[in-house]
Symmetry: C3
Subunit: 314 residues, 3 copies
């Protein structure tokens, strides 16, 4: 799509026209993508972005690398949300035959969009739906009634249990003047090799870019993974955990049952969050945390003991 078409749609001016293939964050952006800058927190990303064009406020134009085209507005977030509507997925009811590699088996009642690829010796059981351009690697088992939305990619040796939904829209709205405008979710989900995901989980697609679950991560049931999360290799996520958007877990992180994170934070390698822990800020690796807000688990246990002493004195 021509940048000029997007600019017209938004009512913004541009100094030069280029071809835009997709929308991406400043950090992930490529020369054929449009990005946006809406909070000073990402100023370093702005200064080094490889984007072809950026939607931003006038005062920040000076930080743009050379040759990056500026789309100036007072409301960059709202404008980017509007721009996403041009790239939104058009839901399709076409059911097509998948492309099967040797040894791949699909149940008769499984349904496929267009251009779906199933790798060697993989099995897709009854009632599954795999959307347009989904790719499944080799030696996978997709249990019955799993839904995988368009453009998502699954690696080799993965197991996905029934009822799990991969690639549904991240929760993104622009709330303004008592209205909730949709920020269309145009990214996808990438699941690497040897990942197992339990039943009735929800793994949201990225707003822009990708939500990624790295190799050997194991997820239990009823888990929520928000848009743009990154789950590190060998991580263990127990049932009913909820990770808000853009949470980044390191290698070998363990999230106990019903624990959760606020968004846009990082948990370091081999950190463990005890059951029910509520993580509100980034945490260092190689330590154990508990409580809400989550703190070092020894400290949390001390607080519990102190509370009990308050009562027992009486």
């Amino acid at each position: 799509m021509k940048l000029s078409k997007i600019a017209d749609f938004l009512g913004l001016k541009i100094s030069n026209d280029i071809e835009i293939e997709t929308l991406l964050t400043l950090k992930e952006a490529t020369p054929n993508s449009l990005s946006f800058f809406h909070t000073a927190k990402y100023l370093d990303d702005l200064k080094s972005t490889k984007a072809g064009a950026v939607i931003l406020q006038e005062e920040y134009v000076k930080y743009l690398p050379d040759d990056v085209i500026a789309l100036i507005t007072n409301e960059p977030y709202k404008m980017m949300a509007k721009a996403t509507s041009l790239f939104a997925y058009e839901p399709s009811v076409i059911e097509d035959e998948p492309i099967l590699q040797k040894g791949a088996k699909v149940a008769k009642s499984a349904n496929f969009g267009q251009n779906v690829k199933i790798g060697k010796n993989s099995t897709v059981m009854s009632g599954c739906y795999l959307g347009d351009n989904v790719e499944i690697g080799e030696e996978c088992i997709i249990y019955p009634n799993v839904t995988i939305y368009h453009n998502c990619k699954i690696g080799n040796n993965c197991i996905i249990h029934s009822g799990t939904v991969i690639g549904s829209d991240g929760f993104g709205f622009v709330s303004k003047d008592n209205s909730n405008e949709k920020f269309y979710q145009i990214g996808n989900v990438v699941i690497e090799d040897s990942v197992e995901i339990g039943s009735n989980c929800t793994i949201d697609r990225a707003t822009l870019g990708k939500t990624i679950i790295k190799s050997n991560a194991k997820l239990d049931n009823l888990i929520q993974i928000g848009h743009n999360c990154e789950i590190g290799q060998y991580s263990i996520i127990v049932s009913q955990v909820g990770l808000s958007g853009s949470t980044k877990l390191g290698v070998g992180v363990i999230m106990g049952g019903q624990s959760a994170t606020a968004g846009h934070l990082e948990i370091g390698d081999r950190a463990m969050v005890a059951a029910r822990g509520g993580v509100t800020k980034s945490l260092e690796g190689n330590r154990v945390y508990g409580g809400f807000p989550a703190v070092d688990i020894k400290l949390w246990r001390k607080t519990q003991a102190a509370i009990m002493r308050l009562v027992k004195k009486k």
Copy 2:
């Protein structure tokens, strides 16, 4: 159904016979409905009910408006539960063709009960099931593997993501003498315009009457909405929230991730409940709450600080 048939089934006497079309609460009741009164909390509703007949204890008969027929029993709740069995939905395996308005598209593998209507330009994707008499408005997207039970209504411009279940039974049992008798759930779910619901949510049908999600409300994933809840316009409900039966949210309420409410309470317009907040009583609007039991968030933060001071003194 004749009231006399119901009375016979319950072993209760009536002074007059009328036609009963449905069962409703005292407040919602119409002249052709049967209602019940089982707790003094609803005495005002009893005094002003428009019901044709009411099941109640003898001592409250004096509060009944003129012409309302009394069915007298010592166990009105249990008797009403028994009466619901006469109105219970008979599950059907009939799969029929839906009635499509112009531009409506349904996937070949989507399944429909009888008398299902799909509005203009709406899309119903693979593997969905829409039960008898379901109505979908215009310009909706129903993603794959959604289930909508009989008699539920969806407005215009709604998006419902995969795995979500709308209209399953509310959780209602009469526990007595070590048994759990089913209170059949004979209401429905009504979803107004421009509502988006994430994946793997559960929206229970009303016990009597309707569960309602008002226009422009946005729900994330894995959310539980109990029977007879009312979700106000422009409300935002984040992932893994649980609303117990008959919770009423005002306009623009925000419920943070994993927050929850006890049942039969109201949260005022534009109130915000922080993540993990547990609401145990009605809350005023235009304020922010947190903690469990939920209190003003500033107070909750003070309690957290005070707990930390207990520990750090040592």
Copy 3:
């Protein structure tokens, strides 16, 4: 399968060969089963096991009953995990016709593995998948898009709501040297009579043996029941509860909304855990508990009051 074949696969020696039909815990084991001993906690079970053979460390061989064959290793848990791979379910895409008793009805779009039996007057609605050897009792309603994995058994008069998954794998991995090896889940789920299960629940199959939900238990929506749990008769489990593996609930236990348990513990008959209660150790029956870690609810309320006093003094 010959024990010698298993021993060869594991690289372990045996003194005698027998036929092994399945793998079971020491307590449930039968003469044609292989078991394992990996923690001193189960020494009594070891001394009285009826297993045909046991994988264990050398120092514990002396506690084995006569005639039980020992498979000696320093890593019994890891070896047992490896042995489970020999008994793992081979996922199948075969869709067959179920065996229907008189009055049983199945929707055309429901899918069945091989050798599925549907009892008298039971109904299986659209889009359900019932795996190989599943048995459904009489007078059941299985609502649309339910998934029941192979070998699971449902009693009479049961109701299972949409999106619920019964029999998916328990969450079992052997974490060692930065890898997560799968402990294959070769048990099943048994649901007794008159059980109702809400929508989008997940009931995991047992690792070895069975996960069991006893008669008249009622489960709300979005509930996680871990592998090898035992839910007592007449229990009530409210929405979003999570029970970790091997939790045992007595008769008439009530678990409030979003409450949870750590694994391998027991809750006594008629105990009640209030909403959000987090049970970390076994609890006596006939009492009410609350808080996290869960304590007597009166004590929990006192702690809440004490915390508030801390703040109000200032």
